[in-house]
């Protein structure tokens, strides 16, 4: 058991690192110490690492060559995740945390799994809701009571990210403002809906898969997208049958101030409602309620959300070896589920009649 804090290397130092990971790591000084930060922009790497007294690396190779770096967090844009995760594993690091989504297609996901098996380096995906203690407590109860979900509905309506980022840290690299999309263009609609699934809905897709398990093994998800729509200025509406059970999801980024992040799960005799805080802020866990018959039982709020949970999980697997790691198969199945949904929804939304 490692008694010293584990040395952390961070790849990509954008708003997610500044607002999510560094404040989380600041609460876990006994477990982690950030040693090096790398970004394609050397100025960003220097400024962000300078804030916490860590070193800056100019390249990924330099960061990986640093022996003080024992675990690596990949926080670059999604397109780079797979190759950087693989490089970190091949460099013999003890464990890798990759921001969601950890790959952009099935092939990449399988490569990661292959290298993880080959090198024995475990990987965790930063899907923070899967680590949220409100969720884990509620789903344990739900499963122990034997409830079988037949309908899941998700609603995510958020104010601009900047509102949360600026209350979680002092952001160094503000996001560029985006204009209004041209939803008359089918490829704009397709990009928005698949981006919505891979960027926002993706947080809850592992939860949905867990609640709607496949009946066969190895699990193949039987997914049929039955409705898809792009929303202005940014959002999606998505309906799907997953193993014959209804999943309906809406997500939107708006200018109004109220964040709504809900997942509603229904069975014949029970229902579960999960209310998550928005991303970036460190506002504690989801509050979950399970209603059966005449009573409602509440789980949470716990003091921390899944951000702390994912780092604690990383520490556990890095300290005790990959046996403690979640199966890489589950990560692949979760990713393939998201990719399949995103591409089927994109295909459907291209055909959408928008008037």
């Amino acid at each position: 058991m490692n008694r010293e804090p584990l040395g952390v290397g961070i790849v990509g130092a954008g708003p997610v690192v500044q607002a999510i990971h560094l404040p989380t790591l600041a609460r876990l000084p006994d477990l982690f110490a950030v040693r090096s930060i790398m970004d394609v922009s050397p100025d960003v790497a220097a400024a962000v690492s300078g804030r916490i007294g860590a070193g800056a690396s100019a390249t990924l190779d330099e960061l990986l060559a640093d022996e003080r770096v024992e675990v690596v967090a990949i926080c670059s844009p999604s397109a780079f995740h797979a190759s950087q995760v693989i490089a970190a594993m091949r460099a013999g690091k003890r464990a890798v945390l990759c921001e969601k989504p950890f790959a952009t297609d099935r092939e990449q996901a399988e490569q990661i799994a292959e290298v993880s098996r080959e090198t024995g380096v475990p990987v965790i995906v930063g899907a923070m809701h899967t680590f949220d203690p409100g969720w884990t407590a509620a789903v344990t109860e739900w499963e122990s009571l034997g409830h079988e979900a037949h309908t899941i509905r998700s609603r995510v309506v958020l104010p601009p990210n900047a509102r949360f980022e600026t209350s979680a840290t002092e952001v160094l690299t503000p996001r560029p403002a985006s204009g209004l999309p041209d939803l008359d263009d089918p490829s704009v609609r397709a990009g928005m809906v698949s981006g919505g699934v891979m960027g926002l809905a993706v947080h809850d897709l592992p939860l949905i898969r867990r609640l709607l398990p496949a009946t066969d093994r190895p699990a193949t998800d039987d997914v049929e997208v039955v409705s898809a729509s792009a929303l202005s200025p940014w959002g999606y509406e998505l309906g799907a049958l997953v193993h014959g059970r209804l999943v309906h999801a809406v997500g939107a980024l708006t200018e109004q101030w109220r964040p709504t992040w809900e997942l509603e799960v229904l069975s014949d005799t029970a229902s579960m409602l999960l209310e998550f805080p928005p991303s970036y802020v460190h506002a504690g866990s989801a509050v979950a309620t399970i209603t059966t018959g005449e009573k409602t039982v509440r789980f949470g709020p716990h003091a921390h959300n899944g951000y702390e949970g994912e780092w604690r999980a990383l520490h556990a697997i890095a300290s005790s070896g990959s046996a403690a790691a979640p199966g890489v198969e589950t990560l692949i199945e979760d990713l393939v589920f998201a990719v399949d949904l995103a591409s089927a929804a994109a295909g459907r939304v291209r055909q959408e009649e928008i008037r």
């Binding site: 409705s227 509406e237 309906h248 109004q256 109220r258």
Partner: protein, 278 residues
């Protein structure tokens, strides 16, 4: 009319509740009991007749009009694609529909007070849960559609996108191009309420409407960039609201125009149609 007459309720309309299978007579009687100045129960020659909205309700309306009723309240009318012409057939009789959710008092105030943001919404998402012993899921979707219409939203298309033994999803568009999604699922944990979410670029509106018999108030909240505006709660069931609307229409002579949109909804959600494109 003397003031005392009014206080005694002697200006009340006489009302007869037609016993029929499926009509929850007790609920109507209970609602009438909360309007002692407006209504007085009477027998055959009542001015107002309350009929069940089970299949054949148009025939019940015609029959009531033939017996001289000035007003008919139809409780929980099932979809009827031919309802549009009914009012013209009985010109001397005011027809008011008492619907789950669609007759909710909060819906009308939201339609009036939030009219502009409602018009700017890009997404209208309606969700409810129905008990195992409740209505058919298509009937629930119809009731949701009626509530959306009563928010002042013109619905131009709607199709069933998915239907399983436990749930249903319908999607469509409003006249202004907003995406409409209606979904219902079965669970015994149902509290009978309808949850409506409207999302625009800079506002959201959320409404929670209790079921038709309940006096439990709903909630209507408009959230914008800088603040939020909640409508006052109305401690009045949708059924009582409909009875008052009928009384108003008869005392002021103002005609009601519910049947046109009701018919449009019935045509959009033709019960014979199977799952179709979304």
């Amino acid at each position: 009319m003397t003031a005392l007459n009014a206080l005694n309720g002697s200006n009340a309309l006489t009302v007869r509740v037609e016993p029929a299978a499926g009509l929850r007579v007790a609920a109507v009687t209970a609602a009438l009991a909360t309007l002692p100045l407006s209504y007085r129960e009477a027998g055959r020659d009542a001015e107002v007749v309350v009929v069940s909205g089970e299949p054949g309700w148009d025939e019940r309306v015609r029959a009531a009009a033939r017996t001289g009723a000035r007003g008919v309240l139809v409780k929980d009318p099932v979809p009827l694609p031919t309802a549009a012409t009914l009012q013209a057939e009985v010109p001397d009789c005011v027809i008011v529909l008492a619907e789950t959710w669609a007759s909710h008092p909060l819906l009308r105030s939201a339609a009036e007070q939030f009219a502009e943001p409602i018009g700017r919404a890009h997404l209208i998402d309606a969700r409810s849960v129905e008990p195992a012993t409740g209505r058919s899921l298509r009937a629930v979707l119809f009731a949701q559609l009626r509530a959306v219409q009563n928010l002042g939203i013109g619905v131009v298309s709607l199709a069933i996108a998915a239907e399983t033994p436990s749930s249903i999803l319908g999607v469509g568009r409003s006249a202004s191009g907003a995406r409409i999604a209606l979904s219902a699922a079965r669970s015994d944990t149902s509290d009978g309420s309808l949850d409506l979410l409207l999302v625009g670029r800079a506002e959201t509106i959320r409404l929670a409407l209790s079921d038709s018999g309940a006096v439990r108030p709903g909630r209507a909240m408009l959230t914008s960039e800088a603040d939020a505006h909640e409508l006052p709660t109305a401690w009045q069931s949708p059924l009582r609201t409909s009875l008052l609307a009928l009384h108003d229409a008869l005392s002021t002579g103002t005609p009601t125009d519910q049947l046109r949109e009701f018919t449009e909804a019935a045509v959009l959600l033709d019960p014979g149609a199977g799952p179709s494109a979304g």
